[in-house]
């Protein structure tokens, strides 16, 4: 019984160590994830400032800007 517990502790520690060593997502990966966020599919968002400005000029609309970070 004691042997089984010790094995379980060892196994848990090994799994924790593995997960701790997993590399954090890179900034490129985080940016990719952010650009796939569901909220960006709820309406027609631009992520190119110059394009947004051009469209605002053509449509005579104001720009609603949401500024965030890839970590948020």
């Amino acid at each position: 019984m004691r042997f089984a517990s010790a094995r379980l502790v060892l196994l848990t520690s090994f799994v924790s160590l593995l997960s701790a060593q997993q590399p954090r997502p890179s900034q490129d990966e985080l940016l990719e994830q952010k650009l796939q966020s569901p909220f960006l599919k709820n309406a027609a968002w631009h992520t190119d400032w110059q394009l947004a400005r051009r469209e605002a000029t053509a449509s005579k609309k104001l720009i609603f800007g949401y500024f965030t970070t890839v970590n948020y």
Partner: protein, 238 residues
Amino acid sequence: MTEAGPLSTPEFATFAADFVLFCHPESKATQAKDVGLAKRLGVTGLPDIAVFTADGTLIVKVPPSVHSVAQFTRYAARARQLLAWRVAANEGDARAAAALLIAQLEERQLDRSSAESRRKQLKNELEPERKRIDALLLDLRIGEQIRAVHRDLNGRRALGGKFLRMLAADQLPSPAVSRGFWFVIMEHCEAKADVDGFVIGLNGLRRNVALTANGAPWGAKLIADYEQKLAQLQTGKK
């Protein structure tokens, strides 16, 4: 959270039809576009929401409180009003010029020197405009004075005494003055065991919190902390 909250609602999709939407995630990714764009456009905190004209001029920022589509709608109307005043002011409308200056001061878009120079260009200020601009310019001066003594306890206490005398002389800041104004008054009164002055500071803080906290728990906690200090002051304990 704003993204999973209001930005993901059907109401937002309806609201968005009147705007060009732009999302800018700042990052250090190699594929990141326009690094530092937020700062260049006058957006300092992230995440942040603001309304711009097509030429990239920031018209109004949406405060970083709990966001909602109703709040976006209010600020969109505010942005349109500011633009209308700007157009009218450029055409020589003195009232619109005053309204625009007041709105820009309320939105904290101007530093003191540019606000004062804009004020000099106003013609025939009406009494309510004069009072409002005086109060908002006083807010700016107060903000500068508080920042100057930010890390200096004795400086803050002295400034609190000065602010209390200012109030006694009927020089009143706007209700949206920095909370620091009331904090330094209470710091001064606590050091001087001045209960009446402390109450003035606490009442000012209450009005400020009612305006800014939107019922958030931090507001009630802040007031409770200062009420406790007042109770200690009243019983002579420190």
